[in-house]
């Protein structure tokens, strides 16, 4: 059969349309056969005969289109051969059953029934097997049993997503925790041991690097010559764009992660932290692992002790739960200018406490070292309190602090060098203090993170 390859593929892709016809027809014919066996009637015989003919014809059509389709694909050869032979067998056996009915009509003899029964059973068996092989070719061999309730689970297969395990960016592995899940989600359904489209296997590190028909898959450190990257970064309309056939393309985030993995050397076992991620990719990875949803700056804690929370509530603090699964807490105390909070009670939730607001509550310098012992604070409001530069010095110990509200305090420009040294600080509120904008302009420490 020499057809123009495009036309042959075009026709071939009607295969999925036809294959289901013989399955339905054969099943119905089998049912009729059983009914006939219980209470014989000529009418049923007539219908059954027609059904077998239709099954044979649609089977033949399926074989034809299937043959054309198999030319264009890279299917696992053994399964493909079985599927082909099985398909031919179904069509032929159906036709033979049809013929056996014809013979009976002419001679009026019911002989040959055991023979026909044998033919029917073989046809149905061939259909079941062929269908299964066809399914394995399209969806992969593990498709059927992946979610089976019993039996041993292949944990390495597609169902395993790693996002549930990754708790922080620092401890995650780039290849294992990010690259593999991305490929699993978007690529492996066609590039696996059974299907192996383009002769490219994406199920092991070595195979990913090796590549397939059209070139080396991944060249560590070189995006330009990495076929995998070229294919996923082509314009969507391009013929060679992957994933093909209207399957969901990789998201920008996923692309960026694969890109960064290749650029940093396509290592198999390297922690993300060891590869010195920049702020942009860090953000993307944080979002990929969904660490931004449930935690603050990639931090999650164990649940707090209820007794410690009760104690805080008794002492007039407001406690709010910030996230559902990361167990992080926000604590507020508004003293209305005269009440002073009992800060000692905060130690009980130091693992969970990330936001602390102590406004207008006569907080003095002497209390600040207590706050400095809360290692996970990332947002702190101590505005409208008589704290001074000496007190601020203690906050140096808060390595995660990103936000510090000091408006209405007694601090002076002398505090600026201390604040400047704090590593994570992004925003400082200094309105209504002795630091005024004019002073700041002349100060070499002027920084965008100060807000007056």
């Amino acid at each position: 059969m020499q057809l123009n390859p495009e036309l042959s593929l075009f026709i071939g892709r009607f295969h999925p349309l036809f294959v289901h016809l013989p399955i339905g027809l054969l099943t119905f014919a089998l049912v009729l056969q059983l009914v006939q066996w219980k209470r014989p009637a000529d009418r049923i015989q007539g219908i059954a005969s027609l059904l077998w003919l239709l099954a044979a014809l649609s089977g033949g059509l399926s074989v034809l289109t299937g043959w054309l389709l198999s030319d264009g694909g890279d299917y696992e050869p053994t399964t493909l051969r079985n599927h082909k032979l099985g398909g031919i067998a179904v069509a032929l056996l159906s036709f033979l059953v049809f013929l056996s009915f014809q013979g009976r009509k002419k001679t009026g003899v019911y002989a040959g029934i055991p023979f026909r029964l044998l033919l029917i059973v073989s046809a149905v068996a061939a259909m079941v097997l062929t269908g299964h092989w066809g399914g394995s070719l399209t969806h992969g061999a593990s498709y059927l049993t992946e979610y089976a309730p019993l039996g041993k689970k292949d944990t390495g297969s597609q169902a395993a997503t790693v996002n549930q395990v990754v708790r922080s960016l620092d401890s995650a592995y780039l290849f294992e925790d990010a690259v593999v899940p991305i490929l699993q989600a978007k690529c492996v359904s066609c590039h696996n041991a059974e299907k192996k489209k383009g002769d490219y296997l994406l199920t092991s590190h070595a195979a990913i690097l090796a590549g397939g028909k059209t070139g080396t898959g991944v060249v560590p450190g070189n995006l330009a010559t990495s076929e995998l990257y070229r294919r996923i970064s082509l314009p969507k309309e391009h013929k060679e764009f992957m994933p093909t056939d209207g399957k969901t393309p990789l998201s920008e985030e996923q692309k960026a992660i694969l890109e960064w993995w290749i650029e940093t050397g396509a290592h198999q076992q390297q922690r993300i932290s060891a590869l010195a991620p920049g702020p942009r990719i860090k953000e993307q990875l944080t979002s990929f692992f969904q660490l931004d949803r449930e935690s603050v700056a990639g931090y999650a804690a164990a649940p707090a002790d209820p007794a410690a929370i009760r104690k805080l509530l008794e002492k007039g603090f407001q406690v709010n739960l910030l996230t559902k699964t990361a167990h992080l807490l926000e604590v507020k105390f508004n003293g209305n200018g005269n009440e002073h909070p009992d800060l000692g009670a905060l130690a009980g939730i130091q693992d969970q406490l990330v936001w602390l607001q102590l406004e207008n509550c006569q907080l003095k310098d002497a209390s600040l070292p207590v706050l400095a012992a809360l290692p996970n604070l990332y947002k702190l409001n101590i505005n409208r309190n008589p704290v001074t530069d000496q007190g601020i010095a203690a906050l140096d110990a808060l390595k995660k602090l990103e936000y510090l509200n000091l408006y209405g305090t007694a601090i002076t420009p002398a505090a600026l060098p201390i604040l400047e040294k704090m590593p994570a600080l992004k925003k400082i509120y200094l309105w209504d203090t002795k630091i005024n904008p004019a002073l700041l302009d002349s100060n070499a420490l002027r920084s965008p993170k100060l807000i007056l």
């Binding site: 649940p303 407001q318 559902k324 167990h327 406004e359 925003k427 007056l452």
Partner: protein
Amino acid sequence: MSKQPVHPVHRPLSRREMLGICKCGFGSLAMVSLFGSLLPSCAGVADGKDQLLRELGGGAIPPGFVPKAKNIIFLYMDGGVSQVDSFDPKPRLARENGEDPARKFKMDATQFGDVGKILKSPWEFHRYGESGMEISTLFPHIASCADDLALIRSMVSNFPEHTNANYFLHTGSGLQGRPSMGAWVNYGLGSENSNLPGYVVLDGGLIPPGGLDNFKNGFLPAAYQASLLRAGAEPLANIRPADSLAGIQEEKLAFLRERDGHLLKTLDGADAIEAAISNYELAYKMQSSIPELTEFKTESEATKKLYGLDSSDPNTRNYAAQCLLARRLVERGVRFIELTCPDIGGGADRWDQHSNLKAGHERNAHAVDQPIAGLLKDLKMRGLLDETLVVWSGEFGRTPFAQGTDGRDHNPSAFSMWMAGAGIKGGTIYGATDDYGYRVVDKPVTIHDLHATMLHLMGMDHKQLTFRFGGRDFRLTDVHGNVVKEILA
């Protein structure tokens, strides 16, 4: 026949009582299985989990991710501000001023049908801030905050008429009776302050068309409806205790609580009784918290001036007091605050200028412009803008052609709104209208999208925030809504 008094204990159960008791037993069993999984595996851990959650003021559904905003201030521009005169410049209107709009584009029917000529904006537009956002001279103060605003020029509504458009904007449905967005937020997150309601509407003088149903709880528990406060000497009716001695009032309340408690037991914890008890408690607490809240003595003169409390325009002073009150409510942890417009009178009802656009819009703008800018600046200096979302919007826009000679009719096909503060990328302009500002041509944003975005910033997935009523799960966004990610920081 002697009628012997029967002691409750010895009286046999009536059929109704029997059913009542049983129903609750089954009901609560079902409830545990329904909601057991929803309770956060939080601080509470094993013992007294839900109890502690209640103490933490936790809502029905805890945040799904770390919230950017903790409070929302909704600046409702009653009546519909004209987009082509405020935030959406259209030079073509000036070029074609006075021409027949029907020859320029296909027109929808308008509310009043009195279609006039194309009407250019009486105000000029200038560029402001580093972002170069174009804003008209109607809002010189707000314009000075341009780099804090995320401006959406492609808003659309479903309704061309005030009442339905108001219900739609406030509740996500054009029909009366659905819960307001403030009620949803409090239902989802719970209150942060046990002495104040979580949803407060500041009454500037105009209750929007559609009435108080814009601010109701609908089918959500009654505790989540808005409380209406006025800025002024008596912000709430009967806020001053009627009893001269505090002790007497407390005793009265204790007695009430005891009696209600008994009734509650006999009625198997009826929802209405429980709500009444908590209402009395909250009302009592508010008698001390409200006067403290509305007392501006502690505010500096500079702050009052910033808001425009010293303005010669009484409407500016009115709105300034509302804005300052809004900030004070935010400081006290009130989740959702809506400001309504002042009644400026003199034929300029709301922003609804069907005639006399220039005078009416100018007077309305003068009332709100400086107070809003003051609010944004004050929130920013205090660091509150990092956790407060400020939303400015009307219920729809106005036509680019005149109604009569000098007015503009309703236009739900395009209007502008802006957001500022927590989680918002300042200086952003999103979406666009056609050359006349009549219809949206790029990236339309629906009211549902707005609600989805607001809930998102509060840490909630709008698809997860549901309430089962009348046999199905309801959402603020019904079956619609996409978060407008492009305006998020």
